[in-house]
């Protein structure tokens, strides 16, 4: 145990003094939380501009735009009636624009009284942009209300939104465990792969092989260090989230267990990847090749359910999926049963990878 602690102390000093590791363990997750927190919480303006060309001189056009503004989702900005709209959209790189045709008020009343034909407004836009979808949704909702008003009807069926967790949770609360899971992976696996490259290039492995320190002890000290650093990172990141964005997440014993098991798993995986790594540069390349797809496919940034079925199947084979899900179970949903299932999968994988890493990695020359 003394040797593990001695190796841990020496490694921790080097890690913290290099600055690089400390940045990715402590500073980077805080930057991500600040960035995504600003995007996903309501601290800033969430209203999007809706450039509109209104050629209607009657009251319906003006009332329609007033109703749109009252939704607070869009803010109508006016495009001059004299310009060619499609050219204006192109020249100003607009992703969305609303068009109300001339004589729209008259046509609405004529249609209501006799022809019953559609009298449309037009939403121009780029379907690949999320703002287009939002604009379509808002304009359709206001048009629906206008139809009820003109027909003298009122809606019967409605939707009552309710959060499946505690009602005070925001999207960023669900997002935080994903950031923490990603930090566990990047800190332990990316760093460990580079460390293996450096230790091989600079012959530290050969030097260590002349001592009484075993590979398993060396690996254990790295796991211990990453677990300590990542728990500190979890606390700091969560504290920033709570203080800056008023997040409502829980750090409990189960969350800490997930961090420890995650550190063991990804440290072992990093050491295994280190087998094929000849230097720190190739270490970074290998870690990126494995880590980045895993980061995006494992639900760190968005729900797995939003991905195509075949990608969801791939996600089930990735260890980070179980870490992210488990952290959400523990920190957000408080579903300890589901957390234990995820923990079981992670622990089994961690045991297999640790054993493989300690056996397969060689410090000696051929």
């Amino acid at each position: 145990m003394n040797k593990v602690l001695a190796d841990l102390t020496a490694f921790a000093k080097q890690y913290m003094r290099s600055g690089f590791g400390a940045f990715f363990t402590f500073i980077f997750p805080i930057l991500l939380i600040l960035l995504f927190g600003a995007i996903f919480t309501n601290t800033g303006s969430s209203t999007m501009d809706l450039p509109t060309q209104n050629l209607d001189t009657g009251p319906m056009g003006a009332e329609f735009l007033k109703a749109l503004n009252e939704t607070k989702v869009v803010r109508v900005t006016m495009i001059p009636a004299t310009v060619d709209l499609q050219r204006y959209i192109q020249d100003n790189s607009l992703s969305v624009a609303l068009y109300i045709p001339a004589n729209w008020t008259r046509d609405v009343f004529v249609s209501n009284a006799s022809t019953h034909a559609w009298v449309n407004v037009t939403v121009y836009g780029d379907p690949s942009k999320s703002t287009y979808g939002m604009a379509i949704g808002v304009v359709q909702a206001v048009a629906q209300q206008a139809n009820f008003f003109i027909a003298g009807a009122r809606p019967i069926v409605g939707v009552d939104p309710a959060s499946i967790a505690s009602p005070q949770y925001q999207y960023i609360d669900y997002f935080l465990p994903g950031i923490i899971g990603m930090t566990v992976m990047t800190t332990a696996m990316f760093s460990m792969t580079s460390v293996c490259g450096e230790y091989r290039t600079r012959k530290y492995f050969k030097l260590l092989a002349t001592t009484t320190l075993s590979k398993a002890q060396w690996l254990a000290s790295k796991m211990l260090w990453y677990a300590i650093a990542l728990i500190a990172s979890l606390i700091v990141t969560t504290a920033v989230g709570v203080m800056v964005f008023g997040m409502h997440v829980t750090i409990n014993a189960m969350a800490l267990v997930f961090i420890v098991v995650g550190a063991i798993l990804f440290t072992s995986l990093g050491m295994l990847l280190g087998i094929v790594v000849k230097d720190p540069e190739s270490g970074a390349a290998v870690a990126n090749a494995i880590g980045f797809p895993m980061m995006f496919l494992s639900g760190s940034f968005w729900p797995l359910e939003s991905m195509p079925g075949y990608l969801q199947t791939v996600a089930k084979a990735l260890p980070l999926t179980y870490l992210n899900s488990g952290l959400r179970d523990a920190m957000v949903y408080q579903n300890m049963g589901s957390a234990l299932v995820n923990l079981g999968v992670l622990a089994a994988l961690a045991a297999v990878l640790f054993t493989l890493a300690a056996k397969l990695v060689s410090w000696k020359e051929r």
Binding site: N2, K3, L5, A6, D7, T9, A10, K13, Q14, R17, S18, R202, K203, Y204, K206, L207, L208, A209, T210, T211, T212, L213, K364, E365, R366
Partner: protein, 311 residues
Amino acid sequence: MSETVIEVHGLTKHYPGAKAVDGIDFDVHAGEVFSLLGPNGAGKTTTVEILEGLRSPTGGTARVFGVDVSKDYGKIRRRVGVLPQEFEPFDRLTPTEAVTYWANLFDRRISKADAKKLLGQVSLSERADVQGLKLSGGEKRKLGIAMALVGEPELLFLDEPTTGLDPKARRDVWGLIRRIEGEGRTVILTTHYLEEAEVLADNVAIMHKGKIVAEGPPAELVARSGARTTIVLGGAGKEGLEEVTRRGIPAVLDHDDVLVRVSDPREMKTILAKLSALEAPLKDMYTRRATLEDVFLRLVGAKMDEGVLQA
């Protein structure tokens, strides 16, 4: 005869298309400095890495403290200290921290004061608290030796301990090795510096292309090889050579110098008397004793460049 620390018999290490070590035999006894001498690629480092348990031999046996190193190196690890050829210190640890850390890896706990005392022994006290990346080449080597010594080993492997060092740093390391020998430890020194082996080693094994071509104490190797003392007539030129040979003394021209090899020391006086009567202009006249370089030249035809053996 003191205890045999290392026994090597028929040791081979083959790679596809290359025989790095090709059936070598040698013994090393307790308390001696044994040098494996040879140019780069001679097989020195491969040999010591087999003895350090870092490589597996293809054939033969290598025993250290009676233990077969290819099977049970773990049993003797605590008794051995190693300075590898390509030693680099940990960039972000100070020498004090590195030595303390390394002691733990040999199941020893040493205080900061003990670490500094050890660093003092390798003349690194003033740099004890500077991070490794700021050390000079010589200071790094000294730290490597301190780390190799921290487990208080009975046997020390020093692989090319002075390669790349300036003359002063090299002499510092030599002093250190002499002190280590004085403490009764056994030292295996690999080097491609002839002078280093000559000055430090009790016994030398000259390696060439994976084989040991000569072995013994440096002076004995020189004597055994038949290499002779040489009288150098500096700047005598062709004119001097003709005059010397006219007097019945065999000589050769080396650049502008005339070299007269004296095969029997008893003839020295007579030859010197004949040469003193030379009329050819001389810049200098001196005698040069045969060295390991002469041995090496005779055995393998290798040359030397600035004191380093060339393959």
